[in-house]
């Protein structure tokens, strides 16, 4: 299980990344992240929605209600241009953290 702070910090890049696969609704977004992380990233599911609405206000994503195959209506979210740009920035930042930690954690060659 990931620390609460790390889960909170990674929510926006995770949502943006999942949405690059195509439009999706809240429940499916959570399922996708759970599946990809092997259950290591667990969101309090309802907490995702305020984040989605904040992202919508920031013009990173847009939403629309449509009828699903079950006949019920669902709110689908889609990536916007600003969202793609934000994702590029997020990617760079997360990659630089990742690279730094990887270098530090590599087994050091021993001379003796």
């Amino acid at each position: 299980m990931l620390a609460k702070e790390l889960v909170a910090a990674s929510t926006v890049p995770l949502v943006l990344s999942v949405l690059t696969e195509g439009e999706n609704y809240g429940y499916a977004l959570i399922q996708r992240v759970r599946e990809l992380s092997g259950g290591k990233i667990e969101w309090t599911e309802g907490m995702l929605y305020p984040v989605l609405h904040w992202m919508e206000k920031e013009d990173l994503i847009e939403s629309e209600w449509h009828e699903a195959e079950t006949g019920r209506k669902r709110k689908y979210y889609r990536l916007r241009k600003e969202g793609r740009k934000a994702l590029q920035e997020e990617k760079q930042q997360w990659m630089s953290v990742h690279e730094t930690l990887t270098k530090l954690w590599q087994p050091q060659p021993r001379l003796t």
Partner: protein, 194 residues
């Protein structure tokens, strides 16, 4: 004998909805979306072989209780009360600025009645720039519009806004009071000379 208590899923969802609707921080659309989420979750759990009651309990637990979700939703949907308080502070601030503007007219009113020496330089300067007093209320109005339309996160709430307006009023009041009293002092000096 098997237990025969029947669980009504739609009734349970309706009860759960009613709890959320009581809070001003959940808009109708938010509740509809959360309900859609619970229903998806229930279907998924039922497909795994759980009863509808078990599925409902797990789904609502995973989604989070109204008490847990409320502070998060409050950040994106400020309550109407907070909007009203912002409006009241805006009115207070605008009246305060108007009062300062009215004060800055005093030296001119007095000089037009009694012919004396010209106004002190500082007073004159402030009087020439008194139209600037319209700027802070306009800025405050702009901020309030952002709050009312939900463009701004009101995490700091109205207390921060109130503190800023009082601070700005104080900063504006000191030079204006000084500028108004400067000509008074020079008149008093003149009276003494006479």
């Amino acid at each position: 004998m098997a237990t025969t208590t029947t669980f009504d899923l739609s009734l349970a969802i309706q009860r759960w909805r009613e709890k959320l609707v009581q809070s001003p921080h959940f808009k109708a659309e938010n509740v509809a979306e959360l309900e859609s989420h619970i229903r998806d979750s229930v279907v998924m759990l039922q497909n795994k072989g759980l009863s509808s009651e078990e599925s409902f309990l797990i789904a609502t637990h995973r989604t989070g209780s109204a008490e847990n979700l409320e502070p998060e939703f409050a950040k994106i949907n400020p309550s109407p009360l907070s909007k009203i308080i912002h409006a009241l502070i805006l009115i207070f601030f605008s009246v305060g600025c108007w009062f300062l503007w009215a004060m800055s007219l005093i030296p001119r009113l007095v000089t037009s009645r009694m012919v004396t020496r010209p106004l002190p330089g500082f007073t004159q300067l402030l009087m020439d720039w008194k139209w600037m007093l319209a700027v802070p209320p306009l800025l405050a109005l702009g901020y309030c519009v952002c709050v009312w339309t939900g463009k701004v996160n009101t995490r700091s709430g109205w207390i921060g806004f109130f503190a800023v307006t009082v601070g700005v009023l104080m900063l504006l009041a000191f030079p204006i009071i000084f500028a108004v009293f400067l000509p008074l002092i020079s008149w008093l000096e003149m009276l003494e000379i006479r």
